[in-house]
């Protein structure tokens, strides 16, 4: 039971981290129709910038400054890269962001090398907040929860209660109409892209010390963020939050319970072939839940696409 509670908390942290990545991506995707393959690369840039800044001035300055730098870079890329490619259609945009992802990875390796960076959580948060049955819960993870929840509330407020938010919401569904009403839609696009990449950067800043800061960190998260926004429904902040948490819990629980295929099959009345290593069914019989954990989100995506193509909270058909 205590392990169950610990897993609930761990999955919550993983889910919130995923949400910080997805919230920006889902807005960008639904608004501009751009599948931004480089989104996770901005997450990586955030971690590396924050690491570099933390060497000079400590963690807290990096926490503020690194996402801002990433956001500005993102806005520039939208203004001078993506917008130019936009008029040629969606495929060139796709290729542009794909190339961007490769470029950022090479640039990171060029400046920081291929090794792991010693990016650490600040010392002031380096203690155990509490522990459940011998499993400690670091204070840094509590801090991560508060940052992510704070971001969610701020975004929710901006999107639903402010004028800028109304324009963004409107531009999500009817960009031409909003443009005809006299709003500067390209500027809104640039702003959303900048803020979205800054959020990815912030996710990188707070995830770097926990999940490791290395050139493969973008690839590791790259595909899962797309899965999340598809499950949640494009353009929906609530959908992104729900899908992130579901995936966070799914992965955490799958990794921590050694449910064996052998037990399930025996329970269903099959007999284990002996000797197992000569059997054609060896792979099926020796499978465990942690081994198939990484593919569960993709399985969930397929189910959602079949049952509810617009995603859990999606409003429009795409």
């Amino acid at each position: 039971m205590s392990l169950f509670i610990v897993n609930i908390l761990d999955g919550f942290v993983t889910g919130l981290l995923l949400f910080m990545l997805c919230s920006g991506l889902t807005l960008i995707f639904s608004m501009m129709g751009v599948l931004n393959f480089a989104h996770a690369s901005f997450y990586m840039l955030g971690a590396y910038f924050a690491y570099q800044i933390s060497l000079l001035t400590g963690f807290w300055v990096g926490l503020i400054v690194a996402p801002v730098i990433v956001g500005v870079i993102g806005a520039f890329i939208e203004r001078y890269g993506l917008r130019r490619v936009h008029k040629y259609g969606h495929v060139p945009e796709l290729i542009f962001t794909f190339g961007l992802a490769l470029l950022i990875e090479e640039i990171v390796q060029f400046f920081w090398g291929k090794s792991q960076m010693a990016y650490e959580a600040p010392e002031i948060l380096d203690f155990a907040a509490f522990s459940i049955a011998g499993n400690t819960f670091p204070a840094y993870k509590v801090f991560m929860i508060f940052v992510a929840l704070g971001i969610f509330l701020v975004l929710l407020y901006i999107l639903t209660k402010t004028r800028v938010g109304m324009t963004i919401q409107a531009a999500l569904s009817y960009p031409e109409t909003v443009q005809n009403l006299g709003h500067n839609v390209p500027l809104v696009f640039m702003g959303v892209f900048g803020v979205g990449t800054a959020m990815a950067g912030l996710a990188g800043v707070i995830a770097g010390p926990v999940l490791g800061t290395f050139p493969g960190m973008a690839v590791l998260l790259g595909s899962i963020v797309f899965v999340t926004i598809v499950i949640g429904g494009l353009g929906s902040l609530w959908g992104a939050l729900a899908a992130s948490l579901i995936i966070g819990w799914l992965q955490t629980f799958a990794a921590s319970y050694n449910v064996r295929m052998e037990d399930i099959l025996t329970g269903l009345g099959f007999t284990k072939p002996e000797p197992i290593w000569d059997s054609a069914w060896q792979d099926l019989w020796t499978l465990t839940l942690p081994q198939i954990g990484p593919i569960l989100p993709y399985l969930l995506m397929i189910i959602v696409l079949v049952v509810r193509p617009q995603g859990l909270f999606g409003k429009r058909e795409t």
């Binding site: 155990a128 499993n135 400690t136 081994q291």
Partner: protein, 415 residues
Amino acid sequence: MKSIKKLALGVAVAGLAATGALAENVKIAFIDPLSGPFAATGTNGLHQYEFAAEKLVNEKGGVLGGTNFEIVPFDNKISPKESLIQLQVAIDQGIRYIVQGNSSGVANALTDAIKKHNERNPDSRVLFLNYSAVDPALTNEKCNFWHFRFDANADIKMDALTDVIAQNPDIKKMYIIGQDYSFGKAVASAAVSMLGAKRPDIEIVGNELHPIGKVKDFTPYARKITASGADAVITGNWGSDMLGLGKAIIDNGFEGPIYTYYAAADGITAAFGEAGVGTLKLVAEGGDAPPEKPEAQEYQKAFKAKYPDGNISQSRITNVIQMLAMAIDEAGTATDVVAVANALEGMTFNDSLWSNNPMTMRASDHQLIQDVHIYAHTQVEAPFDMDNSGFGLKYENSIAAAGEALPTSCEMERP
């Protein structure tokens, strides 16, 4: 008439080649990844080879009374297929010595190819000096006369590790976790069988494999390990999987030892830092920090002066270079590799920089028998630390001539 001409030409070419060989360097082909995800490890290894050849052979007068060693790098991108192409290029350039270490998959491909090549081309035979690939099969069922291994193989390391664990009465429950591929499985099965033989009372409370390079967050695994009540953990993980797993376990408040194969260098030592002290252990051959011999300390200082960002992470490289030089001098030739291999076979080596005890190249399987140590990750003064982090590896336990008693299934066919 024609045949006489051909003969004369042949004699002339042979004569040229012979005089050329006298003046030319002894070339050693370094076939390892110099680009791609493992480039950092490969490049660091190349620097260690170049430095060892320069300092330990060339500056001391070379071999055969004045011939220098020359390291020729070949990038194999850690692919077995690419390695075979590079091997052919090296052979075509007249190179007789191949060194390789990263990935047992590559080593398995190379040893097969070299065996075939040497059978078919007695005039251009080559030797394979394997400095890091630890798959036990290379000196057991797949052994051959042309392959020599300078690192302790995975079974020898596990034998040494379980010797130490067997003496620790505090360890009653063991958790084994590794990457889901051949090496991870080999480590797990060796751990289970050797612990079962030496300490049958130790309960294996977990034995699992996780997807390699796919796990984003190791926290759930760490929770499971704590919940299992394990006193110690064994893992063969490397790279970011090693760092992620280790950090998650330590962050979860686990205080028992974590026995590893590869939790050092290439940024990992720096990233663990203070957190790894007291829990992180590593099994390997090599020297202490600082090494016992003064000349080894000088050597390491000189290396750090030349490569400030590098590490002497594979200290066995100096053994490869020194033992090869000794064997060439003893054989009196660098071109007849059968003579050199005969000199290497059974050689006792007393002059390793890192060890006061002699090492032996076991004749029956060409496995170097040497001391293996259990290291502790701890504070180490520069320049003997790793990643310039102030942390490094110090001896905790030593097993003299580790693996001497382990049998081999090798049936060596000699030319």
